[in-house]
């Protein structure tokens, strides 16, 4: 289907909201995206007509719910181009996915002195789980620095990756800076050095950049709610041979073959990692969100998003006293900035009164903020339904902030 932003906007009921009499201009999509009507309907329909627990399906509803859940797994597998659907594990979101890998893979594969390689632009969710496993195993964290152009320093990467490097965990797109990392070449280098790789796709999947075979990584993780789906559902994709070698992360029902008090044997993947009743409705909702975005030509969708982002960068770049931290040559989704004399929180408050929703703060990337020498930025982040008109609304609201503070 051809991508037409006005048609898309009509699919998202919340976008017509008025905020204190002003048209909502929602530019906090890196934090969470809005939901199209089909996703809202899917959740309502699931709970109205299909709800039951799964995998126990002697009864009709149990079968429907089981079908919805397994169908969702197939939809995700297709969306990310997984080798097989058993490589798709449903989690609560990106954070849980990374914790699962750090805990299960990390505790069995890392030893004292081994190195975990991260980048300076990681979200706390891709730092803290690794610190926890580093503390437990004696492994060390190494960090690839971010340069003045908001890009990872690839020369430093070449020198940091070494004999003791066991795992590289890197974001596909920086949530703070909008930098689109050269994942393919980085993964290829890591792979050549025998390093296991995890890509945090929380900000990449929404821009339809989640082809795991193309990327070549070993693990790929993302959240449902950042790609127009519900909260509380996310995905861990991993290569089957790796997942097969990993012990359970949580124990409970649904993940076991046989339990006695002496010994328990576990199911294979993906069930081994899905203890307890999963978020069945969430999985169904995520599948409908993915089906929704898949109806569009991905090139057209990305072209529209790029068009709006580049317009925003140009318009903001023209404003006096504005410093942009979105400087990478390849970028997606977000522009981070500060204004002379107005703190980002004050900007966010003033913009909110103009209907413009942005994020202000450290964006869960405190180490990055420290390296940039700021303690907060304002961030406008875009989704497929945003328009150039909304960029104008943002720019006008920023002018009002200047007026108020001058």
């Amino acid at each position: 289907m051809n991508f037409d932003v006005e048609t898309v906007r009509r699919d998202f009921p919340i976008l017509s909201t008025l905020v204190r009499g002003k048209q909502l201009c929602y530019l906090d999509n890196a934090a969470s995206t809005q939901k199209p009507q089909v996703v809202i309907d899917r959740l309502r329909d699931f709970y109205s007509t299909e709800n039951a627990n799964i995998n126990r399906g002697i009864h009709h509803l149990g079968e429907l719910a089981t079908d919805a859940y397994h169908g969702a797994r197939r939809t995700v597998a297709d969306f990310i181009n997984a080798f097989s659907e058993k490589e798709v594990i449903f989690t609560a979101g990106t954070t849980e996915s990374i914790n699962l890998v750090a805990s299960s893979w990390g505790r069995t594969h890392l030893k004292k002195g081994d190195e975990i390689l991260l980048t300076g632009m990681e979200h706390h969710a891709n730092i803290v789980p690794w610190q926890i496993v580093a503390e437990q195993t004696g492994a060390l964290i190494k960090v690839i620095p971010v340069n003045e152009s908001s890009e990872i320093d690839t020369e430093a990467f070449d020198s940091l990756i070494g004999e003791r490097t066991r795992v590289l965990a890197i974001c596909q797109v920086s949530n703070s800076l909008g930098t689109l990392n050269p994942i393919k070449s980085i993964i290829a280098k890591a792979k050549a050095a025998g390093v296991t790789t995890l890509v945090d796709g929380a900000q990449g999947a929404p821009h339809l950049l989640a082809d795991v075979q193309e990327l070549g990584c070993d693990f790929y993780v993302f959240s449902g709610h950042k790609i127009y789906g519900p909260t509380g559902i996310g995905v861990l994709w991993g290569r089957a041979e790796l997942l097969d070698s990993m012990p359970p992360y949580k124990g409970g029902g649904d993940m076991i073959q046989r339990v006695t008090f002496e010994k328990t044997t576990y199911k294979g993947i993906p069930q081994r990692f899905e203890a307890g009743t999963p978020n069945i409705g969430g999985a169904a909702g995520l599948a409908s969100a993915i089906t929704y975005v898949q109806q569009f030509d991905p090139e057209e969708l990305r072209a529209h998003e790029t068009d709006v982002l580049e317009y925003a960068l140009a318009m903001l770049g023209d404003m006096q006293g504005l410093t942009s931290y979105t400087r990478a040559s390849k970028r997606a989704g977000a522009v981070s900035f500060t204004l002379d004399g107005i703190h980002p929180h004050d900007i966010a408050t003033i913009l909110d009164r103009e209907g413009v929703a942005i994020r202000a703060g450290n964006h869960c990337t405190q180490p990055l903020m420290q390296s940039m020498g700021v303690n907060a930025t304002a961030r406008a982040s875009f989704a497929m339904y945003n328009t150039k008109d909304e960029v104008d609304q943002l720019v006008n609201a920023i002018k009002k902030a200047y007026d108020l503070f001058s």
Partner: protein, 153 residues
């Protein structure tokens, strides 16, 4: 510009944000504490010189939004020379101010410069900005060297 915003960013607030009073370190401080809001990154360190239960000197250093910095600046201006009872009274006044429905004009008559913070009432997400310095002050008086807005005092 909305009235709410004009109430929030009153001239006194903007002035204290631009030209913070008592913004320095007291090297010989008898009490000090750092207040941080981990959700937004605001930081305010309060320095106190306390002699016979009286604040002989008070200052702050920090970075953050206009509300957090102006609030800290206003606080140091108000509390210098007061004893601990009076300090606690002022703390209660600020608390009342941020929670009551009194209109800004009445508050101004009653609470002096502190009333400039009354506009924060209409911005629930920003109340923590206005109270950060006061939390740090209380922590300093209790001998705690840091306090987060995400923990109970």
């Amino acid at each position: 510009m909305s009235d709410d915003l004009v109430d929030l960013y009153q001239d006194i607030i903007l002035d204290h944000n631009r030209r913070p009073r008592n913004s320095r370190k007291i090297h010989t401080a008898t009490h000090q504490s750092e207040g941080i809001n981990p959700l937004c990154g605001d930081e305010v360190t309060i320095y106190l010189d306390l002699l016979d239960e009286r604040i002989t000197d008070i200052s702050f250093q920090g970075q953050g939004c206009a509300i957090s910095q102006a609030s800290a600046s206003l606080m140091t201006e108000m509390l210098k020379g007061l004893d601990l009872d009076e300090t606690r009274q002022h703390s209660k006044i600020l608390h009342d101010l941020l929670n009551s429905e009194e209109d800004a004009q009445d508050a101004l008559l009653k609470y002096g410069n502190l009333a400039a913070l009354s506009g924060v009432r209409k911005f629930p997400a920003r109340v923590k900005c206005a109270t950060l310095a006061w939390h740090a002050l209380e922590a300093a008086l209790r001998g705690k060297d840091s306090i987060s807005t995400e923990e109970e005092l």
